[in-house]
């Protein structure tokens, strides 16, 4: 973990405490106030400060909402995210999701995967059918996230966490990752990051 991410966590914990203890009810806060905390990790310009943190600018609104909901329910574990969402109501989460979905998807400047890696990833996709849900060009829709151009390290970690069920809020994804070889998952992460 680098210094940037340490700072991100520290900032998030402080801000989360502020959000939780704030006397202002969340319904009275503007969307900018509600989302102030997010920039600390997800980036003020939409580029996450650490490679293991997901891009949320331009992400599908339904997906952002479901993840916030799952953090609140405890279905998805995160020491950082859970305190932040603890006070959010459903409408807060829908509003935040809508807000970030309207922002432009940032270019993380990741290189295209080499030919052999791409070929491996394409074969893996054909085999388990990632695009059956993530759709053409891996753009996602509704409650299914965009994967194209997402940070490579984040993608790799999520696929690994689904595979080990460390990330437990989508057993269907865990099943699909378990049916896929780790080398194929690594190829997919590199391929998707470079799209």
């Amino acid at each position: 973990m680098n210094r940037k991410s340490n700072f991100c966590i520290a900032a998030a914990v402080v801000l989360a405490a502020f959000v939780t203890l704030s006397s202002t009810p969340s319904s009275a806060q503007s969307i900018e106030e509600k989302t102030k905390v997010c920039a600390g990790c997800h980036g003020a310009d939409g580029k996450p400060v650490d490679k293991t943190i997901p891009t949320i600018w331009g992400q599908q609104a339904g997906y952002i909402y479901i993840e916030l909901r799952d953090f609140k329910r405890g279905d998805r574990k995160s020491d950082i995210m859970q305190p932040i969402v603890a006070s959010f109501e459903r409408q807060d989460m829908l509003d935040i999701a809508e807000y970030f979905s309207k922002k432009p998807w940032p270019d993380l400047g990741q290189p295209r995967a080499p030919k052999d890696i791409s070929a491996r990833a394409v074969t893996a996709n054909q085999s388990i059918g990632c695009t059956g849900c993530h759709l053409d060009h891996f753009q996602g829709d509704g409650t299914v996230p965009r994967l194209a151009g997402m940070g490579r390290d984040y993608l790799a970690k999520q696929m690994t966490d689904f595979r080990s069920r460390a990330r437990g809020n989508n057993p269907g994804m865990s099943d699909l990752m378990l049916a896929t070889a780790p080398d194929d998952l690594a190829a997919l992460a590199e391929y998707l990051a470079g799209l």
């Binding site: 339904g62 509704g142 057993p171």
Partner: protein, 570 residues
């Protein structure tokens, strides 16, 4: 923004028709568009719908008529002249995603839909856009197999649409404006809509998707004038256990561990509340008996049977109900306790068939993902016969394992959601099939609150060749009459016509006409994107057209496009 069809000079030049269509377009502008710029649509009566099978001008229902024969009675385009078929117009929709629409045509006005629940009204003669309904999708959509929509139906002045975010909507047929809208079910719990409604006797019949998300499936009737729910039939009854069937419809052992299931039942009770059972495709309606026939999809989770003991009624079944009340009439289950997702999806068709004693009786036929066409007695749903397998079957019914167990067919079939066509004069059913060798994996996880719940995975084997076929089956004998092999798996649909033809498309963009008696290819066209939608036919101004969507397919990942293409003779 107005959309215009592509009828470029190059295209027209290629088919040698430089002057005809432009005159035709001017004429049709007057026919299909009123002075106020709206679509000039005649109200569709119930009588028209009842006799849709005899109409050789309109195409009023998703599968042609209430019996769903997809047999079109016009024969202007026939085996001799089909070689002269050419593009009349192309309309490009705003949505370049999987296209599964069945175009509906009412007196020169065509209604097509796209992924994400858009609807377009077009001039059926020219392809000119008359209106466009762009559904404002809610933020939550949860769906399997693509953001598809398979079409609309018209009754009176209303166009009925079911949307990806699980709403039922009636649109003004002239303007595309919303007349009423009702919520069908909660998308956050895994419900979505991709099927076209079937509208009859002021009832809108609609099922639901969600068998991959632990829903409890249903078929419902809504009031066509108000959107009020009239009746609901749960496709999963509270007693879903059934008779502990150990063999499938063809008599093959399914290797169930009945004792283990009974122990699980004693421990956790009947699993009916999250057992899936989506209804993906339209019911057929028997106008003589006032009964409907539809098929029910897979149980949830797809591959893990250990947590859903019993036959999982009425998943993987043909079901018949009373149209007025939604009351159960009969059912037949093809695969009890399915753990392969080889469920029942392709819409059933009502035709007269030879019974077991050789006498002609009212029958109902269904093409399964197993690769068989099943022939039933319409009276009690009982199975009369099943056809020869249309695709290779190997290692059936090996149970899914953690390491993966190979079995054919793969989980898409056989025949997927693709509607079949029939030619009652020849007693033939035409089906398009997939051949995708797969390994079946099982995993165990509890109900995930509306998330994807497969209970494992089906994985295409990269080293094995995939393919497809078009197969004509004699439903009175169960024998295959002819089969055309295709280089890729087939998904979309097929149409038969009185001109002695069948039309169907492939994922590689080929759309072709075949001799319906022999399977000989008589004509083809390259559409530039996967032709994975069921074709329709109609007549305007004395000219017969064939129309089909070319937009590719999400499920099998065929090349996407956004074209609606109409063909006619000179």
């Amino acid at each position: 923004m107005n959309r215009f069809p592509i009828v470029g000079a190059a295209l027209l030049g290629a088919v040698g028709l430089l002057t005809g269509p432009s005159i035709a377009q001017q004429e049709t502008k007057q026919e299909a568009k009123s002075a106020s710029g709206q679509a000039k649509v005649s109200p569709v009566t119930q009588q028209q719908l009842n006799s849709a099978d005899k109409s050789s001008t309109n195409f009023l229902l998703t599968n042609g008529n209430y019996a769903q024969t997809r047999f079109y009675p016009a024969k202007q385009i026939d085996r001799d002249n089909v070689k002269n078929l050419h593009v009349a117009w192309i309309f490009q929709t705003d949505v370049k995603e999987s296209l599964e629409t069945s175009p509906i045509v009412v007196d020169g006005v065509m209604f097509v839909t796209t992924s994400f629940s858009h609807v377009y009204a077009l001039d059926a003669k020219t392809g000119e856009q008359l209106w466009h309904y762009n559904h404002k999708m809610g933020p939550i959509t949860t769906y399997c197999c693509g953001p598809n929509n398979r079409g609309v139906q018209v009754l009176g002045d209303l166009v009925y649409l079911a949307t990806l975010d699980s709403k039922l909507i009636a649109l003004n047929a002239k303007t595309g404006e919303v007349v009423w809208k009702t919520d069908i079910a909660d998308p956050e719990q895994g419900y979505s809509e991709t099927m076209a409604p079937t509208v009859i006797k002021d009832k809108v019949l609609i099922g639901t998707n969600g068998g991959e998300y632990g829903i409890r499936g249903f078929l419902r009737a809504y009031d066509a004038k108000t959107g009020k729910l009239l009746w609901n039939f749960d496709t999963i009854p509270e007693k879903s256990v059934g008779v502990w069937a150990t063999k499938d419809a063809t008599g093959r052992d399914m290797h169930r561990n009945i004792q283990a299931e009974k122990d699980q039942l004693a421990k956790t009770g009947d699993p009916y509340q999250k057992l899936g059972g989506g209804v993906w495709q339209n019911p057929a309606v028997d106008l003589a008996t006032n009964r409907i026939y539809f098929v029910v999809g897979n149980p949830s989770p797809d591959l893990d049977g250990s947590i859903r003991p019993g036959d999982n009624l009425y998943t993987d079944s043909l079901v018949s109900l009373d149209l007025d009340t939604g009351k159960y009439a009969c059912h037949f289950q093809y695969i009890a306790h399915d753990v392969w997702d080889l469920d029942a999806v392709s819409p059933p068709v009502l035709v007269d068939v030879k019974g077991k004693d050789g006498k002609t009786i009212p029958g109902v036929i269904h093409a399964g993902k197993t690769g068989h066409i099943y022939v039933h007695d319409r009276k009690d749903c009982s199975l009369i016969r099943f056809s020869e397998a249309m695709v290779p079957q190997e290692n059936m019914w090996v149970l899914p394992t953690k390491e993966g167990a190979r079995m054919l067919p793969g989980a898409n079939g056989g025949v997927e959601w693709s509607p079949i066509a029939t030619d009652p004069g020849q007693a033939l059913a035409y089906a398009i099939n997939l051949h995708q060798p797969m390994n079946y994996f099982v995993e165990n996880s509890p109900y995930p609150n509306g998330k994807l719940w497969l209970g494992g995975a089906f994985k295409a084997i990269p080293t094995e060749k995939q393919a497809g076929n078009i197969t004509a089956v004699n439903y009175d004998t169960g024998k295959i009459k002819w089969q055309v092999k295709t280089p890729e798996p087939m998904i979309g649909g097929i149409l038969a016509t009185a001109g002695g033809l069948v039309f169907t498309g492939e994922g590689n963009g080929k759309f072709a006409a075949y001799n319906s008696s022999t399977g000989k290819e008589l004509w083809n066209f390259r559409a530039g994107a996967g032709v994975n939608a069921p074709p329709s036919s109609y007549m305007v101004g004395g000219k017969q057209y064939i129309v089909v969507g070319a937009g590719g397919n999400t499920q099998v990942d065929f090349h996407r496009g956004n074209n609606i293409i109409a063909f006619s003779l000179n």
